[in-house]
Amino acid sequence: MKKIIIRASVLVLVLTLIIGMFSINAFADENKRQYVYDPAYLLTDEEYADLNDLAAEISEKYQCAVHFVTDDDPSLNLDNIQMYAEDLYLSSPALGWGESKDGFMLVLGTAERCYWLLAYGPYGNYALTDYGKDWMSENFLSHFADDDWYGGFRTYITDCDYVLSCAAEGKPVDIYYDEDIGPEGYGMAGIAGLIASFITCTVLKSKMRNVNMATRAENYLDTSNVEILYRYDQYLYTDVDRVRRETDNDDDSRGGTTVNSRGFSGKGGSF
């Protein structure tokens, strides 16, 4: 933990210096901000400049910062990458947009080949849902798996553009938003309609008749003289069944964003 904090502080210092090198007014003028950081040197200068311009354009358009950070430290792994990414995001004034620090950040640990994609801030968490993170991860991981760093980061940034454009229209990328309910959905609605109309008409039809053979004689019980003469309940045996619980991960029908107590939502793994 201590090591991570030290590493995060060092990285903040490095980032600040890099930003200072590119622009003296980096913090004052949003137009010249740095959005992508590549201390692991995975990108060429041209690639770096291209991706930073693209990230800047999208961030400014939607007022939600789009970042990515690379790191080749061998101590960065699946167990600590989330904490590392969140600490870095909170401690660096260069990350996020505005006071609420709305933004997305992808951290890539190249030594252990792990990643963490996070969203922060009310708008950041609204725009990048759990489903959106799954969808984006699937897209960029196929590039990183082949060590296609530029392709992976470009896919990440263009996907951020799509996700933010959907959120701007009031429909963040979420479960089923990207598809019609399809024939199965219409079939389900039709079957539900048929069942509902059958039940309604059966109830209405049953009201048309009230003639039935009697099978009971409860009205003719001599209740004062009913006697229960013997009662005995004997335990026989117990059956035990184990049924796997349905977890949130099993239920892919839920939408929205799961936000932790620090205000982040995220997804990570290895590639």
Partner: protein, 366 residues
């Protein structure tokens, strides 16, 4: 053979008397006099002991009657011949009819011999409601029936309305039940990613005595059993010892099915209810089912009673519709026709509405 029937006549003007449920008295159609059942019983009880001579004794047989037969065997409906004491008309009543009207003079008549000896009812529940109330009840019955054809509900569709004293056997007895139930209690606890469901099984043993009083079973061949069952319950608090004075003005039938023929239905109802009573004593289990049972019926006294029922007939679309009302409590039963047009209108409306709502919900929320 020709038999006699009795007209109950006004003690003041000799006009015909009939029993009126609302007042509980016999009333004269002509002078409006009212007489209690006890008064009329006193007068007619004596008359019935010494029946007056009938026309049969005075008639001369000059005509050749050899080709005529009194043998009704082979006929689907067996008939009996009576002579009306008011106008002398020859009346043909179905064998089971015990009270009716003379179609010529309209006088209500009772055939006392139908209730003689073993056939005499023990009890009667007098009519308390009038035919007008039966008509009103039919109108009420139409209310809220969304599938009722409009033409059926509109106007007066009653072809025939008749108050009938229907014969019932009333069975007393006791069911002694010894039942083993299988009961379960389930609990669920969580262990990691699994739900562990424990189900404990119990043998639940109950023994009980369940007495019954007067389970009614319709003893008429003509009345549909399910209609008579549906009219229950009758209020036995107002049951009276039988008197023919309650019958004038209504149809009355003698039983067509013997107590033995009806016994099975009473037995089945008693057994089912005994099982229910013991089942209701089993508490605290999640599910309970019968494992084995032995129900012994200690059959008791059977009584014979006439119970008041209004029968209403109507025709619609070439089909007969029958309704019945409990003449004591006003409970109304019957099967109404279903309008196919309305049925399919509702079906399609609900189908379209629900499909549209669910389709929209799937599109918006998923």
């Amino acid at each position: 053979m020709e038999r006699s029937v009795t007209n109950y006549q006004c003690l003041s003007c000799n006009g015909p008397l009939h029993f009126v449920g609302e007042s509980g008295m016999l009333e004269c159609d002509y002078c409006g006099s009212k007489f209690s059942v006890e008064q009329i019983d006193q007068v007619y009880g004596k008359k019935e002991q010494t029946p007056p001579p009938t026309f049969e004794e005075k008639a001369e047989t000059h005509w050749d009657l050899s080709g005529l037969s009194e043998n009704w065997e082979g006929e689907e409906v067996k008939m009996r011949q009576y002579s009306c004491p008011s106008c002398g008309a020859q009346l043909l009543w179905e064998e089971s009819t015990a009270a009716s009207h003379c179609p010529y003079c309209g006088n209500p008549s009772v055939a006392p011999e139908q209730f003689g000896g073993m056939l005499r009812p023990d009890y009667v529940i007098p009519f308390e409601l009038s035919p007008e109330e039966a008509k009103k009840a039919l109108k009420e019955f139409y209310k809220g029936k969304k599938l009722l054809p409009k033409e059926f509900a509109s106007g007066n569709r009653i072809d025939k309305l008749q108050g009938v004293y229907v014969p019932f056997w009333l069975y007393d007895g006791k069911a002694e039940a010894d039942i083993h139930f299988l009961g379960t209690i389930s609990s669920t606890r969580r262990e990691g990613d699994y739900d562990v469901i424990s189900t404990s099984y119990y043998d639940i043993h109950r023994v009980g005595a369940v007495p019954f009083e007067r389970i009614p079973v319709d003893a008429s061949v003509k009345m549909p059993d399910e209609y008579m069952d549906s009219l229950e319950p009758f209020d036995y608090g107002k049951i009276r010892p039988f008197s023919m004075s309650y019958l004038p003005g209504y149809l009355a039938e003698r039983y067509g099915l013997s107590p033995k023929q009806c016994m099975k239905r009473a037995d089945s109802r008693a057994q089912n209810t005994a099982r229910d009573v013991l089942r209701s004593d089993v508490r605290g289990f999640g599910s309970v089912s019968v494992k084995s049972e032995s129900i012994y019926l200690d059959r008791g006294k059977v009584s014979y009673a006439l119970l008041p029922v209004y029968i209403l007939n109507t025709k619609y679309d070439g089909k007969d519709y029958l309704f019945a009302m409990n003449g004591q409590t006003g409970k109304f039963v019957g099967d109404l026709p279903v309008s196919k047009k309305k049925y399919w209108t509702y079906f399609l409306s609900v189908f379209a509405g629900v499909t549209a709502v669910i389709g929209t919900a799937l599109t918006v929320f998923l």
